[in-house]
Structure formats: structure tokens, C-alpha cells
């Protein structure tokens, strides 16, 4: 029987028999449908990537008011489109670490203040121009200059000087930073001819595809770049559709209009997975849903109030009821196992007695106002209500104020002392801490000001010994865990789904969902 199964697997993988036929014959051999499905997927993967065909993707987040300028990319669609036509110097490697893209290799001076990126020889932009070190320098200048509006500005602020040196680019920092390559992998930093200074929205880059048809917020068509230097990209054409409505996106996948979608709503992910011909993929990532307190505003300036609230939240309940199990509990730091150099801290659990103890100790007596809105994270008002209930068993009175979605990010988040929010996470701990927990950070949304934390963060950047560095991050994590203004109950998984028409999903890639937005290029049309 094994011979028969193997024979059928090969036939199916080569496309000699249809999926329906394969499933039917497997059933006749007494193989369960679920197992046969897995076997088919394995067989297809084993047969290797197929080139050609059209792969259709529908994702959320685009708008007709978007721009093609990579500096302004601020949503999933823009990130995905950047990946089609452009490349940064380097990129996160699928299993962790950094791999070269426009740069072939890179090295730093022993103190990690001067970095040299050697460009990949002989690669060209999609307009035929050769990629020069000057183009790279101009790109970094455009994203870090005084006049810039780039979303990557915060990352590039400690660059002192960028210069071309033959076929290399030398970046000099005003202080050591062992993580600079991770910064250079940012999705805004697509290398463009003359840095995009002449025409930022031209979408000319070194990426594996070339944009053929662009309708902002509606549809993008990308065709294989015949001169691409690497072997990334299987489908001949990728059609990217913007479908912001959750139900419509799932329906488009189920009815076979598209092959791949992102952000399946957790509430319905179980149902979607049961539909025939649909595979749901969950990937744990660094994204987290949070309640943030301003450490410098009463009553949250009292650490006992902060600890009372941290002990009064039921993390597992939130994962079960808000994420429907598609996530993991947080531990009041923004860091989880998806980060390199992660150290596990003792897990804080729901303990109304301890919450009450800390509240009594603080001497605070009154109700606490929490602001929330639908768009601060999916299910935020529900999560706030759960928090209210778990706190009430500790005798703490939480008042919830529902704010409008419009203007939440400008009027409430990073402005009001206690609100719900989310973070997408960053590739390294240094980046996450620098973005939001350093006392001078632009987005220090918890108004956290801890001298020891700041010193450790700066020192860790210069520390090239991994063991010592890991310990420093663990110490920083402990400080945040015990004194920070962040209540982090849960880390949310990315939930994506693909149809049986395509194959090649790789589980557990680092970065964003959809295999860090490489799934459209790495997967292939199988049927």
C-alpha cells in the first residue's frame, strides 16, 4: 500500500492527477482526509517550486490615499508593494539573523561605530541603471535628512556620516550600535536610483518584480523582473488586491477569487480553517496589545499603583477571549521569544490579593480612568471590560471611556495617561527599547524615565559579546517588568490563509505576517 501512496503522491505533485482524484484514491486506500491533505501538501513541496502562473493576493490596510514613496509606507499593503519592486541593503533572514540583499556582505569596526556594507556586484535597477554606492548613500540621506518625512527617521538619527567608498558604503555612527544591520533592513529603506531624490514614487528598485499596473488602494500587478540577481520569485505575475473588509477578504479566498489573504479575524479563524481547500497559518510574532500608563502622571507615578494594575489583569483570559487562543500571554515587557537574545522572566499571573496589597500600600483611593477605542487593537473595548471585571475582584474601580477611532493616535495615544494601544514590535530588543522605552524616545508612550535602564541600553549597543549582551537585555526586561508603565497582557499571532492552488508555505519566518511579506514571492502556483 505504501508503494501505491507514494506513486499517487508523485502523480499528484506533478499535476498528473487532480487534487480531487488524489483525495478520492487516498480515501479508497483507507487514508483519512486530513492526513491525505497533509501528504499532498508535503508531496507538492517535495516536488519543488514551480515557476510561472499568476498568484493572487488580497491583504488589508491599503487606501487610495497611499503614496508609492517608500519613505511614507505605513501599512501592510505599502510594505508588501515595497517588497515587490525594491530591496533594502539587507533583510531579516527567515530563521533569524540578517542576510544580504543589495549589500553582499557587511562588517563593523571592533567598537561597532563604523559599518561597511559591500555592495553586490553587477546588479541593476529595473530601469537598467547599475546600482552604485552613491545611490545607497543618497537613499540613506533622503531618509535621514533634516527635511525628511520618512518613517525610518527615528532609526537613522544616530548616523553621523555616510559615504561611498568604491563599491562599498561606509556608515559612521555617533556611538556604537551592534544592531545597525537590523536597522538597515527596515521596510522604508528601499534602495532607489539617486536615493529617490529625483522621483520618490517611481517604484524603481532592485526587487524581484516590476510594478506593471498601479491603482492605489485597489490593485497592483507585478511581473517578474527578468534581470533580478537572485532566485526569489516563482509566479510570473502577482496580483495584489486591497480588501479591507474582513468578511469580504475571507469570502474572496473561499470562493477562489484569490489564493492568499492576511489577517484572518481570530474570531472566525477556526471556521475558516475547516473550509475545504483552505489552509490557515499562524505565526507568533513580536506584535502585542497593551495598556499603557504614564509613569509621570498621578496616580500612575506611584509604582504601587502600577503594580496593583499589573497584578490585577488576567492575561490568560485575554488570550482566550480576545485572541481566541491565537496568541500567547505577555509579561509586562514588550519582548517575547520571537526576539534574538531573549531571556524568560518569571511569569506574572493574575493575583487579586497582591493587587489589593499594592493598592493599599500606595494609599491611592478612587477610580482609575482607562481610555480605549475600537482601532487601538481589535477587541480593545472588550479587553478593557475584562480588565475592569478582574480588577473589581481586587477592589479596584476602573472606569472605561470609549474614545472615537478618528484621531485616537493623535489625541489619546501618547497624550492621555492611561489608554489601550498596540505595538507591531521590532526585529531587535535594542530597536524596541530605543523606540519606546528610552527616556528620550519620541514614542516613549509610558513616559518611562529610568537612568539605569538608559545606561544599560546604551552600553548594550557597544557590547559585541553575546552572552553579556543577553544578560543586559534580561536586566532591562526585569526593570520594565517591575517598574515600567507597560501592562502587556498578550502577544498576538499573525493569522494568514492560503488556498490549495498554491504551495510552499514555510512556517515560523521572522518579521511580519505572510512569511515577512515574502509569501507571494516564495510560494508558487501548484494547480
Amino acid at each position: 500500500m505504501k508503494d501505491q501512496i507514494d506513486y499517487l503522491k508523485v502523480r499528484a505533485a506533478l499535476g498528473k492527477i487532480t487534487r480531487r482524484e488524489f483525495m478520492g484514491r487516498m480515501g479508497a486506500l483507507g487514508v483519512s482526509a486530513a492526513l491525505a491533505n497533509t501528504m499532498l501538501a508535503d508531496a507538492v513541496r517535495a516536488a519543488g517550486p514551480q515557476k510561472g502562473g499568476t498568484l493572487r493576493v488580497a491583504i488589508q490596510g491599503g487606501s487610495s490615499s497611499d503614496s508609492l514613496d517608500p519613505a511614507l509606507a505605513a501599512n501592510s499593503v505599502a510594505t508588501q508593494v515595497n517588497r515587490f519592486w525594491g530591496e533594502a541593503l539587507v533583510e531579516l533572514a527567515p530563521g533569524g539573523g540578517i542576510q544580504g540583499k543589495v549589500a553582499e556582505s557587511f562588517e563593523s569596526s571592533p567598537d561597532a561605530t563604523v559599518w561597511t556594507f559591500k555592495l553586490r556586484p553587477g546588479i541593476t535597477f529595473s530601469n537598467g541603471q547599475n546600482v552604485t554606492a552613491e545611490d545607497v548613500v543618497a537613499t540613506i540621506e533622503r531618509h535621514s535628512g533634516e527635511e525628511t518625512k520618512s518613517g525610518a527617521l527615528g532609526l537613522l538619527r544616530n548616523i553621523k556620516d555616510v559615504r561611498a567608498d568604491g563599491d562599498s558604503v561606509v556608515i559612521e555612527l555617533d556611538g556604537p550600535n551592534a544592531d545597525l544591520p537590523y536597522y538597515m533592513a527596515d521596510y522604508h529603506l528601499m534602495i532607489q536610483p539617486n536615493g529617490g531624490k529625483d522621483d520618490p514614487t517611481a517604484a524603481i528598485g532592485t526587487g524581484p518584480y516590476i510594478l506593471k499596473d498601479v491603482e492605489m488602494g485597489v490593485r497592483f500587478v507585478a511581473e517578474k523582473n527578468p534581470n533580478y540577481w537572485g532566485d526569489l520569485g516563482n509566479a510570473e505575475t502577482i496580483e495584489l488586491l486591497v480588501i479591507n473588509d474582513n468578511t469580504a477578504r475571507v469570502a474572496a479566498l473561499q470562493s477562489g477569487q484569490v489564493d492568499m489573504i492576511d489577517r484572518v479575524p481570530p474570531r472566525t479563524a477556526g471556521l475558516v480553517a475547516r473550509a475545504p481547500g483552505v489552509n490557515v497559518h499562524t505565526t507568533s510574532g513580536p506584535g502585542h496589545y497593551v495598556f499603557i500608563m504614564h509613569c509621570n502622571t498621578a496616580p500612575f507615578d506611584n509604582n504601587d499603583v502600577r503594580l496593583a494594575l499589573k497584578h490585577g489583569i488576567n492575561r490568560q483570559e485575554m488570550v482566550d477571549k480576545i485572541l481566541f487562543g491565537y496568541g500567547s500571554v505577555g509579561n509586562d515587557t514588550p519582548i517575547n521569544a520571537s526576539y534574538p537574545l531573549y531571556t524568560e522572566l518569571e511569569q506574572r499571573t493574575y493575583d487579586p490579593d497582591k493587587a489589593k496589597f499594592h493598592l493599599d500600600k500606595s494609599g491611592f483611593d478612587g477610580s482609575i480612568l482607562l481610555r480605549t477605542s475600537d482601532n487601538s487593537f481589535p477587541g480593545a473595548p472588550d479587553a478593557a471590560a475584562l480588565f475592569q471585571q478582574s480588577l473589581s475582584s481586587a477592589g479596584i474601580d476602573l472606569e472605561i471611556k470609549r474614545e472615537p477611532n478618528d484621531g485616537y493616535w493623535s489625541e489619546v495615544w501618547n497624550a492621555q495617561p492611561f489608554c489601550t494601544s498596540y505595538w507591531g514590535g521590532r526585529p531587535t530588543q535594542d530597536q524596541m527599547f530605543t523606540t519606546a522605552y528610552l527616556s528620550t524616545a519620541d514614542w516613549n508612550d509610558t513616559r518611562f524615565n529610568n537612568e539605569q535602564f538608559d545606561q544599560l541600553l546604551v552600553a548594550a549597543r557597544a557590547e559585541l559579546d553575546e552572552g553579556k549582551r543577553k544578560q543586559m537585555y534580561a536586566d532591562m526586561g526585569t526593570i520594565l517588568h517591575n517598574e515600567g508603565g507597560l501592562i502587556c497582557p498578550m502577544f498576538n499571532d499573525f493569522i494568514d490563509a492560503t488556498s490549495d492552488r498554491i504551495a510552499g508555505w514555510e512556517q515560523g519566518e521572522k518579521g511580519f505576517g505572510l512569511m515577512n511579506f515574502y509569501a507571494p514571492m516564495k510560494m508558487w502556483v501548484a494547480a
Partner: protein, 319 residues
């Protein structure tokens, strides 16, 4: 016909005045909304420097009154300006979006209007009997359910389960053949038809029933004319005015009220375009869309007024 000319001139002048007032309202509305365009473009990841740079570049630091008159000056010379967010020419983007919306509205109207009037006539013919009750029940039920829910239900049964028509309009291409285009928007048309049907059908029924009480209808009945001939030849022409009114109102709705349907079915029309730019506080685009919507509304209502005046001799020859 000097009366008609006078009427037209009067109405158009009034319409223009209304448009002007609407433009002020929209502008004030976008200013009252919290957040600004720079904040919306850069989102949660905005830094103060990036915000300041972007605001300066977009020219939104000028006082609101100056910005409004700059915009008004542009519009009066036929220049709608460029979108703050994407930098694209508004007239161009708006043109293709508007033609998509009109295409959808046109086909929905082609099906919905005759169907509604026919069903209305049918309901009158079989008044208080089962066809009347069935028609009323079904159309009232369909108008009572929110549009997005009808959309989801059709999407699930017709798109996903039966696979008769595409579940979303993403395959719609303006340059495709008419057949392909209609296939892509079959479900949105169905939803829109269901939504506007009841209003027009009920109004047709009520208007004709009203006329049916008149003495001349009784005369017609006594002459021995068939029921349908009476309704069609005698009752219908005299109830044109209210029917045209409600038809125009619904046509206007098909153009300006399709936001939800466009978003649900991912149809690249004006509604989706407007929603995207309202959320980004892109004032010039919101203004332009608002003007177009207001013009459609005012224009169709004007047509309704004029038709009802012309169809009624008492209004045509006022004392």
C-alpha cells in the same frame, strides 16, 4: 416655453448657492475633526520632526480661511488641485472613480426602477390579496436589513457556496467587456436593487391607490376597461409626480449612498475613495467628492421638481 427657462434658471442659481454653502460646511467639518493630514499619513509612527516637515510641505500651516479661498479660486478656474496624501491630480482620479460609481448606479437603476414600478402596479392590481402582501413583505424585509448584511448573505450563498457570481467586485476592470464588468458587479447590483426597491415600490403603490379613489377611475371601470388598462392609462399618468420624486431620490441614493456597498464588495468607486480620504483628512479630495455628491443630489432633485411641475397642469399654469 419661457416658464421652463425661468424655472431652470431659478433652480440652477439656487443649486449653485446651495453648492457654495455645502462647500463651506464640508470645509468646516474637516477642520473640526480631530487630527490632521500629516498625523494621519504618518500614523502611529510619526515623529515631531517628520510631522513638521510634512505639514510645511503640504502647506497646511496656512490659516484655514486662506486655504479655503485658495481652494475656491482653484475650483472656479476648473482646477480641483492635487491630493495632499498621494500627490495625484484629483480631477483625474475622481473622474475614473466617478465613472465607476455611475456605471454601478446606472445598471442598478436599469434593473431596480422598472422592477419597482412593475411590482407597484402589480401590488395595486392584486391589492390586499396574496401577491400584494408577498411583494410588500419581501421588499420591506429587504429594506429593513442593513445593506452590509444583505451583502454578506449574498456573498456567502451566491459567491462562496453556489459560486454563481464572484463574491467581490475585485475582478472589475474599467476596460473589460460589458459582460465581464456586469458579472463582476452582479452582487453589488443585487444588493443595491434590494435596498432601493421597497421605497419606490411602496410609493408607486400608494400614489396609484390614491388616484384609484377618484371618480374618473370609477367611470373607466364602468366603461368596462380591464384593470391593467385603467391603472396604466388612467391612474399611472396622474400619479407620475410623486413617483418621479421618489425615483429621483433613490437614483441620488444609488450614486451618493453606495459607500457601504462599495467598501464591502471592494468596488473602486467614489464611496471608497471618499472614505479613504476622509480618514486621512485630505481636505481637497473630500471637498471635491462632496461637491460631486452634492451636485448629483441637487441636480436629480431639480429634475424631479421640474418633471412634477410639467406633469401637473395646475402647477404649469399657476394663477
Amino acid at each position: 416655453m419661457p416658464l421652463l427657462v425661468k424655472l431652470l434658471v431659478q433652480r440652477i442659481a439656487l443649486g449653485l448657492l446651495l453648492l457654495f454653502l455645502v462647500s463651506i460646511l464640508i470645509f468646516v467639518g474637516t477642520i473640526i475633526l480631530p487630527g490632521d493630514v500629516a498625523q494621519s499619513i504618518l500614523g502611529q509612527s510619526a515623529t515631531p520632526e517628520a510631522l513638521a516637515n510634512l505639514r510645511a510641505e503640504l502647506g497646511v500651516n496656512d490659516p484655514p480661511v486662506a486655504r479655503y479661498f485658495a481652494w475656491l479660486g482653484g475650483v472656479l478656474t476648473g482646477d480641483l488641485g492635487t491630493a495632499l496624501t498621494s500627490g495625484l491630480d484629483i480631477a483625474e482620479s475622481l473622474g475614473s472613480r466617478l465613472s465607476n460609481t455611475l456605471f454601478l448606479a446606472f445598471w442598478a437603476a436599469i434593473i431596480a426602477v422598472p422592477l419597482a414600478i412593475f411590482l407597484g402596479l402589480l401590488a395595486v392590481r392584486y391589492r390586499e390579496r396574496w401577491p400584494d402582501k408577498l411583494i410588500s413583505a419581501v421588499t420591506l424585509a429587504s429594506i429593513s436589513v442593513p445593506e452590509f448584511l444583505i451583502g454578506y448573505v449574498l456573498m456567502f450563498f451566491i459567491g462562496v457556496k453556489l459560486r454563481l457570481f464572484p463574491s467581490t467586485a475585485v475582478s472589475f476592470r474599467p476596460d473589460a467587456s460589458l459582460g465581464d464588468k456586469l458579472e463582476a458587479i452582479a452582487l453589488p447590483i443585487a444588493v443595491l436593487t434590494l435596498v432601493v426597491l421597497a421605497h419606490m415600490m411602496r410609493m408607486t403603490r400608494a400614489a396609484i391607490l390614491n388616484v384609484m379613489q377618484s371618480a374618473y377611475i370609477e367611470t373607466a371601470e364602468l366603461k368596462g376597461l380591464s384593470m391593467f388598462t385603467i391603472i396604466w392609462k388612467h391612474a399611472f399618468p396622474n400619479s407620475i409626480a410623486p413617483i418621479v420624486n421618489v425615483v429621483m431620490l433613490n437614483l441620488a441614493y444609488l450614486v451618493v449612498g453606495v459607500v457601504v456597498v462599495e467598501v464591502v464588495f471592494v468596488y473602486p468607486g467614489m464611496g471608497q475613495y471618499l472614505v479613504d480620504h476622509v480618514s486621512k483628512r485630505d481636505v481637497p479630495v473630500v471637498q471635491a467628492c462632496g461637491m460631486v455628491f452634492a451636485a448629483v443630489y441637487i441636480g436629480l432633485n431639480m429634475v424631479a421638481d421640474i418633471v412634477s411641475i410639467l406633469s401637473n397642469p395646475r402647477l404649469r399654469h399657476p394663477k
